[in-house]
C-alpha cells in the first residue's frame, strides 16, 4: 500500500516537473538583462577579412571553424556507428521494389536537386545557404532514390567511403596545411579565405549528404543478410541496369 502510494506520488511529481521548469525558465527569460554587444561587433569588424559576406558562414567556417570541423566528425562517427550496428535486423520493412514511374520521376528530379544543392553551396558566401543546406538537399535526393527506385548504396565501395570521409579529410587537411604556412590551425590568409572556405564547404556538403543517407540506410531496408561477402554487389543498381 505504501509502495503504491509513493509510486503515485513520484508519478505526480514527475508530471509537475515540466510545467515547473517552464515557469521558472520563463521568469528568468522575461527578466534577462540587456544583451552584451561585444560578440556581434567583433563579427562585423572581422567580416571583411573572413573571405565571405554572410556573417553566419563566416562564424561557421572561419571564426569558429573548430566547431564545424568537430561537427563533421560527429556526423561521420554517427554514420559509421549506424553502419556498424546495422548487422542483420530482420523486422524492418524492406524498401519497395523499383517502380517504373517512380524511377522516371526520380530521373527527372535528380538534376534539379543537384543544381539546387550547388546553388545553395555557392550562395552561402553572401546569403543564407552553405554546406549543410546543400548537403541536406543531396541527402534528400539519396533518400528519394532509395524510396523510389529501391537503390541500395553499398557502403563497402571505396567511392562511397571516400564521399563519407571527404569533408573531414579536406577540412583537417586545409587546417593542417594552414598550420604549416600560417602558424595557426585553420587561420585562413585573407586573400585566399573565400576559395578555401568554398573548397571545404563543397567537400563537407558531399560528406554530410553521404552521412545522412548512411544513417537513413542503416535504419531502413538494406538487409545486410542478403549481401554477398565481397563489396562488388553494386552491379545490380536499378539505375544502372536497364531491362
Amino acid at each position: 500500500m505504501g509502495n503504491h502510494e509513493s509510486g503515485r506520488r513520484s508519478r505526480r511529481s514527475r508530471r509537475l516537473t515540466g510545467p515547473a521548469l517552464g515557469a521558472g525558465l520563463a521568469l528568468v527569460v522575461a527578466t534577462l538583462p540587456e544583451a552584451p554587444a561585444a560578440l556581434p561587433h567583433l563579427v562585423r569588424e572581422a567580416l571583411a577579412r573572413s573571405g565571405v559576406e554572410n556573417p553566419v558562414t563566416a562564424v561557421l567556417l572561419n571564426f569558429r571553424g573548430y566547431d564545424t570541423l568537430l561537427e563533421v566528425a560527429v556526423l561521420l562517427l554517427a554514420a559509421v556507428a549506424a553502419q556498424a550496428l546495422n548487422t542483420g535486423l530482420s523486422g524492418r520493412a524492406p524498401l519497395p521494389p523499383a517502380n517504373l514511374f517512380l524511377t522516371a520521376f526520380f530521373r527527372f528530379l535528380a538534376p534539379f536537386a543537384i543544381v539546387v544543392a550547388g546553388y545553395l553551396l555557392w550562395v552561402g558566401k553572401h546569403a543564407p545557404g552553405g554546406a549543410f543546406q546543400a548537403g541536406a538537399v543531396l541527402a534528400a535526393l539519396g533518400i528519394l532514390a532509395a524510396l523510389t527506385t529501391g537503390a541500395h548504396p553499398c557502403w563497402e565501395s571505396p567511392r562511397l567511403a571516400l564521399a563519407l570521409v571527404a569533408g573531414l579529410l579536406v577540412f583537417s587537411g586545409v587546417g593542417l596545411t594552414l598550420l604549416q604556412t600560417e602558424g595557426r590551425f585553420l587561420k585562413y590568409p585573407a586573400a585566399h579565405a573565400g576559395t578555401l572556405i568554398l573548397i571545404i564547404e563543397a567537400a563537407a556538403a558531399v560528406s554530410i549528404a553521404a552521412a545522412l543517407i548512411a544513417l537513413f540506410n542503416a535504419g531502413s531496408g538494406g538487409d545486410p543478410g542478403s549481401r554477398p561477402p565481397s563489396g562488388r554487389h553494386c552491379a545490380s543498381h536499378p539505375l544502372r541496369s536497364r531491362p
Binding site: 515540466g18 556573417p55 556526423l75
Partner: protein
C-alpha cells in the same frame, strides 16, 4: 512584449514540454521524440536571443550554433532510433522502467 521575447518564451515552453515528456514517457520512441521537442525549444530560444543585440542585424554566433546543433541532433536521433530498433529486435521491448511491457 517584443517579438523576440515571445519567440524565446515559446522556445522555453517547447523545452519544458520536451523535458516533461522525457520524464513521464516510458516508451523509448516517445523519449526520443521528447528529446527532439526539447532540442527544438533550445534552437528556437537561441535564434530568438540573437535578435536581442542592438542594431539592425541579429547576432550570427547563436545562429551558427543552431545550425551546428541541428546536424548533431539529427545524427544523434538517427543513432538513437537504430538502437531502439536493435533493442526491440533482441528483447521485444520498447519501453523503460516500471511500465516495461513488450
Amino acid at each position: 512584449m517584443t517579438p523576440p521575447l515571445l519567440y524565446a518564451l515559446a522556445g522555453v515552453a517547447l523545452f519544458s514540454i520536451g523535458v516533461g515528456g522525457l520524464i513521464t514517457a516510458a516508451h523509448l520512441l516517445r523519449q526520443v521524440l521528447s528529446f527532439n521537442v526539447a532540442g527544438s525549444g533550445v534552437f528556437l530560444f537561441l535564434v530568438a536571443m540573437a535578435y536581442r543585440t542592438p542594431g539592425p542585424f541579429p547576432d550570427p554566433v547563436p545562429h551558427a550554433m543552431v545550425l551546428t546543433g541541428i546536424v548533431v541532433a539529427v545524427s544523434a536521433t538517427a543513432l538513437a532510433l537504430l538502437l531502439i530498433c536493435i533493442r526491440h529486435e533482441s528483447t521485444a521491448r520498447s519501453a523503460t522502467g516500471e511500465d516495461d511491457r513488450p
